[in-house]
Symmetry: C2
Subunit: 349 residues, 2 copies
């Protein structure tokens, strides 16, 4: 009768399933059953257990549950930079979608200069059941390592395509979208077109660049080297691009920017030199972030369905984790981008 000795606990601790069981005069097994499959327990018992749960203020110990079930009901989201508004919208969508399926979200931003460190930190340690990867710059071989270990970690690459057909992915048609953006400029009569490129280790960046180059080639136009600028997807690199363009001696009449932020930085910086967008130069952005519509001039841009990317990637990942989708039949979802014409582009000349 150890119970009798414990009547006076000094400090109340978090109640366990045993406490609830004692309270309801049943076994822990029954409490567990009431909580997971109520129909398997007699009504009277069930009610007693519910009451005991309420009385004790019991909440399940997830660590114990995860250990037993070998599942944390948690997904890990890895993105290069959560601070970027583009990603943060996606993160928001992921969290909401995951919550609906009863999953929590661990978020990892890139840390230090060893981008693969956290993989071993988090993933293999049963903290997360799957990985949502929004960062195409990661070493994909390492990712494969994870899978070849005999441990097939559910993984969905989103937004930034991993150059590997065996990896599940939810992406947008970057190349096509870039071509559409250039086509829009061509239709406006522009022939002198520059391009601000994103960080080159991202596959999406490369795709946009290829789309740009292909569209130019198909139109029989020359791509001028010094109208190309490697940026980093933030506004500061937009201003750097402007300075680069200014230094090239002759400005293009239109610029296709790898994302909206660089477009904003570019327009801002050029205006300081009296060069107005769209009067003197047309600019097409990419993403359609929240400010795009409110900027002056409102940005013409390729809208990315960010909410959808987040939602679908999360849904796919959870489907894989739960075995609804088969892991050996790769999911490849390609979402469409949409050209949103506003006022940062206008007819040439």
């Amino acid at each position: 009768m150890r119970g009798a000795l414990q009547v006076m606990m000094p400090a109340r601790k978090t109640p366990t399933i045993q406490d609830v069981a004692r309270h309801a005069s049943v076994s822990a097994a029954t409490v567990s059953r009431v909580l997971s499959s109520p129909e398997r327990v007699m009504e009277a018992t069930r009610e007693r257990v519910y009451a005991a749960v309420r009385d004790t203020g019991y909440t399940i110990n997830q660590a114990a549950r995860s250990l037993r079930l070998k599942s944390a009901r948690t997904i890990l989201l890895a993105a290069p930079n959560i601070g970027n508004p583009f990603y943060s919208t996606i993160v928001d969508a992921v969290i909401r979608e995951a919550a609906e399926r009863g999953y929590s979200v661990l978020v990892a931003s890139r840390i230090g200069d060893d981008p693969n460190r956290w993989l071993s930190d988090y993933l293999l340690s049963n903290r997360a059941d799957g990985l949502l990867l929004f960062d195409g710059s990661l070493d994909t071989n390492r990712l494969h390592g994870l899978r070849d270990d005999g441990v097939a970690l559910p993984l969905v690459a989103a937004y930034d395509e991993i150059p590997d057909a065996k990896v599940h992915s939810v992406i947008t048609d970057n190349r096509l979208a870039a071509k559409r953006a250039i086509k829009h400029l061509l239709e406006l009569g522009h022939t002198e077109i520059g391009h601000i490129i994103g960080p080159s280790r991202n596959q999406s960046t490369n795709e946009r660049f290829i789309g740009f180059a292909e569209a130019m080639q198909e139109a029989g136009l020359q791509v001028r080297e010094d109208w190309l600028f490697p940026g980093t997807y933030n506004m500061e690199s937009g201003t750097a691009a402007a300075e680069h363009l200014l230094a090239s001696g002759k400005l293009p009449t239109a610029v296709f920017s790898g994302n909206d932020e660089m477009a904003i930085g570019l327009i801002h910086r050029l205006r300081l030199e009296g060069i107005d967008c769209p009067r003197d130069i047309s600019v097409v952005g990419f993403d359609d972030i929240a400010v795009a519509r409110f900027f002056d001039p409102p940005l013409t841009t390729m809208r990315q369905p960010r909410e959808d990317i987040g939602r679908m990637a999360t849904r796919s990942l959870i489907d894989i984790i739960e075995g609804v989708a088969r892991d050996d039949e790769p999911i490849h979802i390609v979402l469409n981008s949409e050209l949103v014409i506003r006022e940062s582009t206008r007819r040439a000349g």
Copy 2:
């Protein structure tokens, strides 16, 4: 000799500490010791264990560890809307700081219309060791409930002050900052000043409003009812504010906006009517988000030290969790905001 029977495992599973132990011909206890306090184990043994860890590809099972240690080395971050660039910068800082101390970050965005639901979902379930609250609109009584249960959940309220001196907090001087913003407008000769208010359930919003009202009163100025507009901290509500102001018959000569996003929406919408900022109206924002500097006109705004907020709040929380800081001596850190004068404000008249 069960080992012999298991020579041919069909599917390799994640190795456990037992596997490593077998590999190194030591006990699991020794492996555990090598991993947590290497100096307590003889060098030769230690090396054998390290080798076995490498060979097996062992990674710790966090669920088991958490269960045993009653600590998840994880903090829960709750914010009203991660999608908002203001919060996302903070989140980024939190994640980095937490990572440095060896903690993971679970992120919860507000879900559905029961803002307190996830508290019970996450917090009491041993998923997280502490809560970082970036949302002043939460029912603080409920939070107290958590603490009165005998379970003192480490909690730090950040950015948005919880009106309770007993709760640890890291905030900025919202009221003072608002006064400083108004003072700036007064110095420029403005007397007809409007204010776009944030969501009223946030304490920071109220503080800014009080600062505004006090500054006006001290200057002997009237606060015109129809120059006050309740916004929601997004750009759309900035345009709504503009329409409200337009409908009031007479425009103020200056507006103090509760945050930068509403300021941007406001300026954008007014410009559509031919009302230019700063020519016809001055606008002061709040936060100094990334675009503020690149917007046209570059926004005069009260800069919030967002990185610092995130870092310090995280640091404080972990200190409390680890017992470095005492939970019964509330931490109250107040960070300064800084007036950044750009071009959205100019002399009246």
